[in-house]
């Protein structure tokens, strides 16, 4: 019979494996976490998640702290464990002796028993005399790859350091009330009675922010379809699309379906929910069922309307385009290490193709809302600028709002601004009299 994994080794083992899956094997953190055993629950699970997310958030800085203590580059899994180890000493309230002991125990459990002494020496060394970074390089301090830090510096100028830092914060849990089933005030009263601290999001009509995260199935009103989990920045899409009863509306990249649901909660519309990914579209159908809503959900590539369109045009289109995800790095710290500089140009080309393909499906006088969860200008204003330059019948509608900040063609939100994810919105209208 196996000995109980020495106190605390298991969360470090799983965190190190997840970090290595991202850094060394290019897998997404979500996919790596899905590999964790189903029986791994409770406080150990919470600790392991905290270690995996935190280590990935600060991966580059931690590596710089470790480097002077290493004689040669450790093998990948061992390097991941060392990062997890030093993260605990640097940035958590785990008692240092427990952090070192459990990390050394994890060394053996990972099959790296021969490195136990080295792990112990490196971590004890840091505990005794913590290394500090003398560098003023903000990419290093905030742990971003150089190319991404350079993009952000160029796009956000004086705000860049704050944007970099905000990407390393934990995101709050924000909710959207289903206006068809209840009201925000009623739900806030219910939460208050249940001892759940929550406040209304000022910029979002249906938005609530929880003081502490709660898992979905323990969230009062979730199963009943009274409430959904959605960041406030994403809730702004419904205000901008502003659908009216009777409108034909297209949500062009709809999965997993939160924005579709929000549009349906707002008005009696005929919604086409399109997505290229059949599996993710199934999630959309589940979401709509839970909320008591219905849409015409279709699998199809928005960039190729001939394959899915019946020819009828739309009064409103929401194009929440696939993007770099640089606005949601605080929720997905793996994005920093998985994206490559060349991905941005590819994303931009894809976004431009989607916009150009969908434009003819909009009625004259109709409105298209372009959105991304990217904070890079190339994927925001860059796409809109190029599009309107070649499309005279496209008029940019300025967004008057209490959130974010105006950019040349739309509005952008820095991560952490009002607690929101980083986002970009632009609103285009097709001039009447155009084809």
């Amino acid at each position: 019979m196996a000995r109980e994994p020495s106190a605390g080794a298991r969360p470090r083992v799983l965190a190190a494996r997840a970090v290595s899956a991202v850094i060394d094997h290019g897998r997404s953190l979500d996919a790596a976490l899905a590999d964790w055993p189903a029986d791994f629950v409770g406080a150990d699970l919470a600790l392991a998640r905290m270690l995996a997310y935190g280590t990935l958030r600060e991966h580059r800085r931690l590596g710089a702290l470790l480097a002077p203590r290493l004689k040669k580059a450790p093998q990948p899994l061992l390097a991941a464990l060392l990062h997890v180890g030093i993260f605990q000493l640097e940035a958590t309230r785990v008692p240092p002796h427990a952090a070192v002991h459990a990390t050394v125990a994890a060394t053996k459990a990972l099959g790296l028993g021969g490195a136990r002494g080295m792990v112990n020496a490196v971590l004890r060394g840091h505990q005794r005399a913590p290394a500090t970074l003398a560098s003023e390089d903000s990419a290093l301090i905030h742990s971003y790859p150089d190319w991404l830090a350079e993009h952000i510096a160029a796009d956000w100028a004086a705000h860049a350091p704050a944007v970099l830092a905000a990407g390393n914060q934990r995101a709050p849990m924000q909710l959207r009330v289903n206006a068809r089933r209840t009201t925000r005030d009623a739900l806030l009263a219910e939460y208050s009675a249940a001892g759940i601290a929550a406040t209304a999001l000022p910029a979002c009509r249906d938005g609530i922010c929880l003081d502490e995260p709660i898992v979905a199935d323990k969230l009062p009103g979730f199963v009943e379809g009274h409430v959904s989990i959605q960041d406030g920045a994403a809730q702004l899409a419904a205000d901008l699309v502003a659908p009216c009863d009777g409108d034909r509306v297209l949500d062009a990249c709809a999965a997993p379906g939160n924005k579709s649901a929000h549009l349906l909660e707002r008005a009696d519309i005929a919604l086409t929910a399109l997505d290229i990914d059949e599996t993710r579209l199934a999630t959309l159908d589940d979401t709509l069922t839970r909320l008591g809503l219905a849409a015409d959900s279709r699998v199809g590539d928005a960039a190729n309307p001939r394959t899915w369109s019946d020819g009828a045009r739309y009064d409103r289109i929401l194009l929440d385009a696939p993007c770099s995800g640089t606005g949601v790095i605080r929720r997905h710290p793996d994005i920093k290490w998985l994206r490559r500089a060349s991905d941005i140009e590819a994303a931009k080309a894809r976004q431009a193709a989607l916009l150009a393909a969908l434009w003819p499906t909009l009625v004259p006088g109709g409105r298209l809302v372009y959105a991304t969860c990217s904070i890079l200008a190339a994927e925001g204003d860059g796409v809109i600028e190029a599009f309107v330059a070649q499309m005279p019948e496209a008029a940019v509608v300025p967004i008057e709002a209490e959130w974010g900040r105006a950019s040349a063609y739309g509005r952008r939100i820095a991560p952490g601004d009002q607690g929101f994810d980083g986002f970009y919105y632009a609103v285009l209208e097709k001039k009447t009299g155009s084809p």
Partner: protein, 167 residues
């Protein structure tokens, strides 16, 4: 002394049953020493001969923190059990996996030492759990047999993946 290779699920040899020991000689004693060394190295609190590909009916245990409570069980059998506990359990033949199983909380067992001396003993808690775990091994059983088929299949797939990667 030597560290022996521990077989991993789903190795078919883990399903073999063992044969009663009748000769208590030096070879058996050396084998028992090797089993202890293998168990401590793993690290484990119990190891059955089946797990190292041997069909002699012997298992070793040490549930202490300080490796100073060695127990050798030759030809063991459980005499009585009392109460039940649901506990986390793991097996050296199913590395990196732990699950909840139900075990008797207390039991009495009879066995022989490595030199053939018969003894009876009462065990409780972790040691009781370990006795039941090792006895199951000697009859070709694994603790994961007590889990749902779904869970077992998941473990099998995971083990196959790990074996392929060679880690």
């Amino acid at each position: 002394m030597a560290i022996l290779e521990i077989l991993h699920f789903p190795d078919p040899r883990l399903r073999e049953t063992t044969e009663e020991i009748t000769v208590f000689d030096d070879a058996l004693s050396r084998f028992v020493d090797d089993m202890f060394e293998t168990m401590y190295d793993a690290p484990g609190v119990g190891l059955a001969a089946t797990q190292v590909g041997d069909t002699r009916r012997v298992a070793v245990m040490d549930c202490s923190e300080d490796k100073n409570e060695r127990i050798v069980m030759c030809n063991p059998r459980i005499l009585w059990t009392e109460d039940e506990q649901t506990v986390d359990e793991g097996c050296l033949s199913v590395p990196d996996h732990y699950d909840r199983v139900t075990r008797a909380t207390r039991l009495g067992f009879a066995a022989q030492d490595r030199d053939g001396t018969a003894y009876e003993m009462t065990a409780e808690g972790l040691l009781a759990q370990c006795v039941q775990h090792e006895l199951a091994h000697l009859d070709g059983g694994l603790y994961i047999d007590k889990l749902s088929r779904l869970k077992r299949e998941r473990i099998r797939r995971k083990m196959a993946k790990t074996a392929k990667r060679g880690t």
